[in-house]
């Protein structure tokens, strides 16, 4: 018995280690963001000047300072523009998805209409198509509607993504059919049934879709890269890599500030994130 518990502990440690190793990049970011200018320069100099010496790193900086934070928060209005660009994109996309995808999922889950199966299958296929396939078609529409180089060019196609429909659909499927019939007999309208019976049931699925969506759209790269030319419209994910190595401190702080909302969503929605992953794995 002793040996068995010991073995289990060893296995656990052996898996935990790589897991922690996966999270190490955060430590780099955090320590880099409070490192003084001088120290950063000292450790990253080989990278900048292509010297033979290896770079060094201290996870606990000798002279920790918050000067980079102060600089970015009080003296760099540019950063806020970009930050709010990102926020605007994500919030608009998620709200739009709520308005469009949730009712659609309800229709698929509850009403037996003609071509339902065919339509749903095509939704799944669309959900699985990568950006390469849809890039040109999106461009054609956006160009036709003269939306290129505006935030709408990113928001509108994303709002009609079929992925959240699929995720939320799972939640609605748990609605007992008898309950709906009973509500109808009691005189509830279809909209009423949707709001009072459907939404509470699907709240888990909706939250999953929101969490997964946030993480996805917060790090959006392909779409803004193709559809936004003007730098002042760029989201964080495009802006960050533009910061040069000479401003490493600034770069680290910007990365930490980018990370905060994502980590916040991740930690508070971890349960729904997992549910969402599992739900996206279920077949119809």
């Amino acid at each position: 018995m002793m040996r068995k518990t010991l073995k289990k502990a060893v296995v656990k440690a052996a898996i935990l280690l790589p897991g922690l190793f996966f999270c190490v990049p955060v430590l780099f970011l955090l320590s880099g963001s409070v490192m003084s200018r001088y120290e950063l320069r000292e450790s990253l100099l080989p990278l900048m000047s292509d010297m033979e010496r290896l770079i060094t790193w201290k996870f606990f900086p000798s002279y920790p300072t918050f000067s980079h934070y102060a600089k970015i928060l009080f003296q760099t209005p540019q950063f806020f523009t970009v930050f709010w660009n990102s926020m605007k994109l994500v919030v608009c996309i998620l709200l739009g998805q709520l308005l469009i995808a949730v009712p659609a999922a309800w229709a698929f889950a509850v009403y037996p209409f003609r071509f339902r199966k065919l339509l749903f299958t095509s939704y799944i296929v669309l959900m699985l198509m990568p950006f390469q396939v849809t890039m040109l078609s999106s461009y054609l529409v956006l160009d036709g509607l003269e939306l290129m180089n505006t935030h709408k060019a990113i928001i509108l196609p994303a709002v009609f993504s079929t992925y959240p429909v699929f995720l939320v659909y799972r939640g609605f499927c748990n609605l007992p059919k008898g309950l709906m019939e009973a509500a109808r007999i009691d005189g509830a309208g279809e909209w009423m049934i949707f709001v009072k019976l459907g939404l509470p049931l699907a709240s888990g699925g909706i939250l999953s879709a929101m969490v997964l969506g946030f993480l996805e759209y917060w790090s959006l790269i392909e779409q803004p890269l193709a559809f936004l030319e003007e730098q002042s419209l760029w989201p964080l994910s495009l802006y960050l890599p533009e910061i040069s190595l000479e401003q490493a401190g600034y770069s680290f702080v910007a990365a930490v500030l980018t990370l905060i909302p994502a980590v916040f969503v991740f930690l508070s929605g971890r349960e729904y994130l997992e549910q969402g992953i599992v739900a996206s794995g279920l077949k119809e």
């Binding site: 390469q132 849809t134 078609s137 429909v165 109808r184 990370l259 994130l273």
Partner: protein
């Protein structure tokens, strides 16, 4: 009978009609209830729920895709009919072939690796208790936007980076012979690492869900019959995981297209040729407005993906029946 009264009656007697007789008619009045207004309303309500979504999908995805198919047979500027010329063009195009080759190679290396590692870790985890924290650790990279790790990847994988430092510390590399992982063939493996780092978490979550869905009674019975832990896994649990395998394959395959983010952020529009991916090519075509080539390859890729998805689904379906 007055309309109001009729409705009242119909509501009252629906239960009788449904539960006892099972016919379409009300016991008392003999009226057909499917005509009642509330049911008729419910039958058409789906249109209002579905319409915005379908309209959006039509406008933003499906109709323009038809246009893309049309354009793939036309020249880019003059829009003259050229038949399959664009297709011949892209298949003769060096960059396209390189990108396709890299993408296929990447998929063939990454998928088995990711699925295998994921399965191994999940099986170990499924035997332990309190694994929530470990799972979260593996999931965490999902929350790290690609843009935030660019600098760190540079610090790790460049010539003066930590990877070389670590290898030298172990005595595997001698000073002065440090490879640069970004600008050489090795950049492909940096990409593979990024992909696994990012995607291992959800693979583990999916595998674990699959493993826990196998009924405990089944495994217990096998254990009672004297199966070892290993036999129990290979003969009892594993055969039940085919559906999970299908899902993971499809999702990982599709996520493999997203590795462009890391590649682009680390190496820009023209990376080392070992990590030149389809998305790079598309972007470069896009900048040059070579829409005809884009159209032809979008159609090709779409078709291939469609076929792969259908094939995987068919394999899985036949497994379930058989």
């Amino acid at each position: 009978m007055q309309k109001k009264e009729r409705q009242k009656l119909s509501k009252k007697h629906r239960f009788i009609w449904q539960s006892k007789t099972g016919t379409q008619k009300c016991v008392q009045t003999g009226r057909c209830f499917r005509q009642s207004s509330c049911i008729r309303q419910s039958r058409s309500a789906w249109i209002f729920f579905l319409l915005p979504s379908v309209a959006g999908v039509l406008i933003f995805v499906l109709l323009p895709f038809l246009d893309v198919i049309r354009r793939s047979f036309l020249t880019a500027v003059t829009e003259e009919w050229t038949g399959f010329h664009n297709y011949e063009l892209i298949f003769a195009n060096q960059a396209f072939r390189l990108a396709v080759r890299n993408t296929i190679r990447f998929t063939l290396v990454c998928l088995p690796l990711l699925i295998g590692i994921g399965l191994f870790v999940s099986v170990q985890l499924s035997r332990l208790k309190n694994v929530q924290f470990i799972k979260s650790c593996f999931l965490f990279p999902m929350a790290m936007p690609a843009a935030t790790v660019v600098l760190i990847w540079k610090m790790i994988f460049s010539r003066q980076g930590f990877l070389n430092g670590g290898l030298a510390g172990l005595g595997l590399l001698s000073e002065g012979a440090f490879p640069d992982y970004m600008g050489t063939r090795a950049s492909f493996w940096v990409l593979v690492f990024s992909y696994i780092w990012k995607n291992l978490g959800y693979t583990i979550v999916l595998w674990l869900a699959g493993i826990f869905a196998v009924s405990e009674g089944l495994t217990e019975a096998a254990r009672v019959d004297g199966a070892t832990q290993r036999q129990c896994f290979w003969y009892v649990i594993f055969p039940n995981l085919r559906g999970t395998l299908y899902t993971i394959t499809v999702l990982s395959f599709l996520n493999s297209f997203k590795v462009f983010r890391e590649a682009y952020l680390v190496a820009g529009s023209y990376p080392h040729e070992s990590m030149y991916l389809l998305q790079h090519l598309f972007n470069n075509w896009f900048v040059n407005l070579e829409l005809d080539k884009m159209a032809a390859s979008a159609v090709c890729i779409g078709l291939v993906l469609f076929a792969v998805i259908l094939l995987l689904q068919k394999l899985w379906d036949s497994d379930e029946k058989g």
